[in-house]
Amino acid sequence: MTLLYLALAVFLLLTLAAGFWRVRHGPTAADRMLAAQLFGTTAAAILLLLAEALALPALRDVALVLALLAVIAVIAFTASVKTPTPDQDSGDD
Amino acid sequence: MTQPVFWALVGMALVVLALYALIVHAHLLRKVLALNVMSSGVFLVFIGLARRTPGEDVPMAADPVPQAMVLTGIVVAVAATGLALALIVRLRVLTGRTTLGDDTGD
């Protein structure tokens, strides 16, 4: 079972890497934003898998903290992105 | 190569990488980023090498003393970052610049 959890964690890490590729190449700011949001979810899943695989139940608390603070990061992100106005496109590239 | 040595090497790679960026980039915010990456690298060396002495209650856990020191270091690093950012913003307000150095300044 531990083997399966570890394998799943590696797989999720690879999807995380794929997400980073999207952040880098994503055409619009919304793409990047969505991918960044997905990191939090994936990382929480990886932490929960590691909690079982490494027999460290305290890692669930880390996932809890991540779930709460991902919100802060996203809010700070949206607050710092320019609100697009008709005359000025949100030119991220 | 054992796991502690592996992570210590990764940490040192981070330190060297960040040192390069710290020297090369002029923008002060970038320097703050580099300093943060550098401190993360130091912490990684510390925790990685601490795993050579396993803790007692959780068999695989690292030596608790380096963990406590890294914990302290993380909080000090964020306080220093906050102060540095306040100073950069002030510099920008006063001079309009975000870089140091008078030879390239405007």
Partner: protein, 100 residues
Amino acid sequence: MAGLSLLDWALDGVLALLLLWLAWRALSTPALFRAVVLFIAFGLVLALVWARLFAVDVALAEMAIGAGVTGALLLAALVRLAPPIGRGRAHGRNGERDGA
């Protein structure tokens, strides 16, 4: 500690590659805003590394501070370093005036 399985090494390897790549991108991307976002992601992956190294206390602190508070601090500084843009934003929320 002697017999780390292949899977353990795969986990370590992918984490280390991600960490180094993110650090390099965060320090070399020309756009500062994107660099800060990459740095937040770097903090996230670093927290996973701490979890993987059985340093749960450090993982908790890194998750809260490295990925949360530092990121918010950097983004706020980025906003304050930018001058007010256009007329819609000029009502003084982050204007250049110094209230001292």
